[in-house]
């Protein structure tokens, strides 16, 4: 499918990948030696821990908070120890913890027995995840050939999961292949995952396990009706990446926003915390067969899209390297980019084309996620509709994987049902009209488009050499990414990082690493 139209020098691309390896290596060393409160909570969830106190504190949080001084050993062994010592059924133990029972008061009994029990509990959840994965694969096979290319991705976000379901079903019926539920604005900063179905949110709906389940059921109904696979997406971003990944695995989500640096740059979450969290969460995503989406669009909303295009490519290389390090395969790497150049730039659309084609050729097997204009959208919805359709054209013409549909009302409000309807109808028109264009067009070897792609690749390699020389953490401190500076020890969640002790035990981590060939 991917032909070589830009003649990008292979040595430069290989060099960028080598630089990404070198840049990420010291970070991966740090990650290996540490765990965090949310990694431990996710581990407990994948042991089957569930429930919430009357104040809304999830049981995994209560357990991890109680074990604070011992997290270097891992929470799993202490939780399993509590089951062994009390002889309670897991559900009953969780209920008691929700009511105030502190498992940290129990002395450690037979540690080996506790470890074995923990591993057995994990295996039970893993087989649940295996069943989810098998179900997804069977449905993808059953509905093969019926999805759009690129996949059409639509967002719903009312704040009320039951309203979201109506809008999601309408969107899927309209032709959306992927439905994402934007999360409520504040969720990234919560160091716990809210519990149960929710009906209120600001600018979005809370990501909770029950909300995931409700949406999954609604989308499955449409799937059967339309005989077309409907991918469900949510966002791991924030202080609970591993837990949201775990919930996604248990509820059969198909895609998840999971960026290695988004939290650091755009949510001021501590960098060490994010790096450890992203790795664990990505391993869960990898194992559950989920496709991750990364957030390079954010670079272009803060910086100039024409001038800083190289930061997008650099981020894609880094996200790719961190993804490999977590066991993800290229087909699961929905690396992001966006159509955000100033619409007044002469040949701007051709530069976007160059950028999109370049990404396609450098990441041939990856379902690249291409995102629509936002920064230059305005109340002029008619111009906005045209900008969105230029974006649709470029996307189809460069074989993008996941196509986030632009809304003509992007600058005004969260989309009305009719805004989505218009977006889908016009996209289908454009994409159908140029169905075979990728096979038809070539670029002038010495033309503007080819030259632009070469320039961006060159600039990216130079930038990455600088990052390699200085170090990734330092580069972030120096505001080299998105012009935003973050300090190493600053940001939220720093206190949630724990150094792994000598006898650190995490059956979930071990099972993941073994299955993914990372051990």
């Amino acid at each position: 499918m991917v032909t070589n139209k830009l003649n990008l020098p292979k040595e430069k691309i290989d060099r960028a990948r080598e630089l990404a390896k070198n840049i990420c290596a010291p970070v991966l060393d740090f990650i290996d030696a540490h765990t965090t409160v949310t990694v431990e909570r996710a581990t407990l969830r994948l042991l089957g821990t569930d429930g919430v106190s009357t104040e809304g504190a999830p049981v995994p949080n209560l357990v991890v908070d109680a074990l604070r001084d011992r997290l270097g050993e891992g929470a799993a062994v202490w939780y399993a120890n509590a089951l062994v010592q009390t002889g309670l059924e897991q559900g009953e133990l969780d209920r008691r913890i929700a009511e105030g029972f502190n498992i940290a008061t129990l002395p450690m009994g037979d540690r080996q027995k506790a470890k074995e029990l923990a591993a057995a509990l994990a295996r039970r959840q893993f087989s649940h995840i295996d069943a989810n994965r098998a179900y997804r694969e069977s449905k993808l096979e059953e509905f093969k050939g019926r999805s759009h290319s690129p996949l059409l991705y639509l967002i719903v976000a009312t704040g009320n999961i039951y309203e979201d379901v109506k809008q999601a079903q309408a969107a899927a019926l309209a032709g959306a292949d992927v439905i994402a539920v934007i999360r409520t604005t504040a969720q990234s900063l919560l160091d716990y995952v809210p519990y149960g179905p929710t009906t209120e949110g600001f600018g979005g709906t809370y990501a909770t396990q029950e909300n995931f389940r409700i949406m999954r059921q609604a989308l499955d109904e449409i799937m059967e009706r339309e005989q077309r696979y409907i991918y469900q997406t949510n966002y791991a971003s924030g202080l609970c990446m591993p837990e949201i990944a775990a919930m996604g695995a248990l509820e059969r989500l198909d895609m998840m926003l999971n960026d290695s640096m988004y939290g650091i740059l755009f949510r001021d979450i501590n960098m060490y915390r994010t790096f450890v969290d992203q790795r664990f969460s990505r391993m869960i995503n990898a194992y559950s067969g989920i496709i991750i989406n990364t957030g390079e669009d954010n670079y272009l909303t803060t910086s100039d899209a024409f001038e800083k295009a190289y930061t997008v490519l650099a981020s894609q290389f880094l996200n790719e390297r961190f993804a490999y390090a977590a066991g993800l395969k290229p087909w699961q790497m929905g690396l992001g980019h966006a159509f955000e150049m100033d619409p007044s730039i002469e040949n701007g659309i051709l530069y976007e084309l160059a950028q999109a084609q370049m990404a396609r050729e450098i990441f041939p097997e990856h379902p690249l996620k291409y995102m629509p204009p936002t920064k230059h959208m305005s109340g002029d919805i008619f111009k906005g509709l045209v900008m969105d359709n230029m974006f649709n054209f470029v996307s189809k013409a460069t074989g993008q994987g996941i196509h986030l549909l632009g809304m003509l009302t992007e600058a005004i409000h969260t989309p009305f049902m009719m805004d989505r309807h218009i977006a889908v109808e016009t996209a289908l028109y454009v994409m159908n009209g140029i169905e075979s264009i990728m096979d038809e067009i070539e670029f002038r070897p010495d033309g503007l488009i080819v030259r632009r792609a070469h320039e961006v690749l060159d600039r990216t390699v130079r930038f990455m050499e600088e990052v390699e020389r200085i170090g990734l953490m330092e580069s972030i401190e120096k505001a080299m990414f998105a012009d935003i500076s973050r300090s190493r020890t600053g940001g939220k969640g720093f206190e949630g990082i724990v150094e792994k002790g000598e006898g650190y035990f995490n059956p979930v981590e071990s099972m993941l690493e073994r299955s993914l060939g990372l051990a």
Binding site: G159, F202, T302, H413, M417, M418, H421
Partner: protein, 246 residues
């Protein structure tokens, strides 16, 4: 003598308007009629549904062209701000400050509450500004502090106090459930509780912020879409001199 204006299609006073909307009904002849009738109920004397499309089993989308006889008296309309007041240029503002204030003007700004949409505040404050209109950081006679996203009101106020700010810019983009109104109101209330409201020039900004709304909440001004740094800076420096703030 009233000056009545009506929508203009291609002839004066034809009252022609284009509408699009959805109704929670299945598409069909009845839906078509419903769309026509609802437009007539809105004060249009003619309405033609030119497009109808099902969005789902229960919702239908329409494009309607309609004509109204309703108009308003142009002479009675007051704008949100005075357009004749052109903003000064960056150089003029710097010169104005040197001449009339004699020291750097300190401006502190942020997106407050949970709002993380900094495109607007960045456009006003960051060096690069927006669309070739440099931001306040670029002004020689302005000391600009952009605190960025998700800054609690208290933090912004504390920072402004600590840095002896002359003006505080509060940016609010998210308007769902009127969160912008709540946040902006809380900001003013906090200042008033501290007895500090008079100490700062307070400006609200965002795509849905109007001068009227801002004034109603208790701000000195509100700026919306299309605002550049020089608009905000002109307002601040003129007001400072007007009120004798040195």
């Amino acid at each position: 003598m009233a000056h009545i204006i009506r929508p203009y299609g291609d002839t004066m006073d034809d009252g022609k308007v284009q509408l699009s909307f959805s109704l929670p009904v299945p598409a069909g002849s009845r839906a078509l009629e419903a769309a026509r009738r609802i437009a007539l109920a809105w004060g249009f004397h003619e309405a033609e549904v030119v497009h109808m499309a099902p969005m789902s089993d229960e919702f239908t989308f329409f494009v309607v062209y309609a004509a109204t006889q309703h108009g308003i008296d142009w002479d009675t309309v007051e704008g949100d701000r005075d357009d004749s007041e052109k903003p000064m240029t960056m150089d003029e503002i710097n010169a104005f400050i040197r001449a009339h204030i004699g020291r750097k003007v300190v401006v502190v700004g942020a997106c407050t509450g949970f709002d993380a949409h900094t495109v607007g505040i960045d456009a006003i404050m960051n060096m690069k500004g927006y669309n070739h209109h440099y931001g306040l950081e670029r002004y020689e006679m302005i000391e600009a502090h952009n605190l960025g996203a998700q800054v609690p009101n208290e933090t912004l106020i504390d920072y402004a106090e600590a840095h002896n700010a002359d003006a505080i810019l509060v940016s609010q983009v998210v308007t769902q459930k009127n969160s912008h109104v709540h946040n902006l109101t809380e900001f003013i209330e906090l200042l008033e509780a501290k007895g500090e409201r008079g100490r700062f020039i307070c400006i609200a900004g965002g795509p849905r912020i109007s001068n009227k709304l801002a004034a109603k909440i208790g701000f000195d001004a509100g700026f919306g879409h299309g605002t550049y740094a020089e608009d905000v800076a002109t307002f601040i420096v003129k007001k400072m001199v007007q009120e004798g703030r040195k």
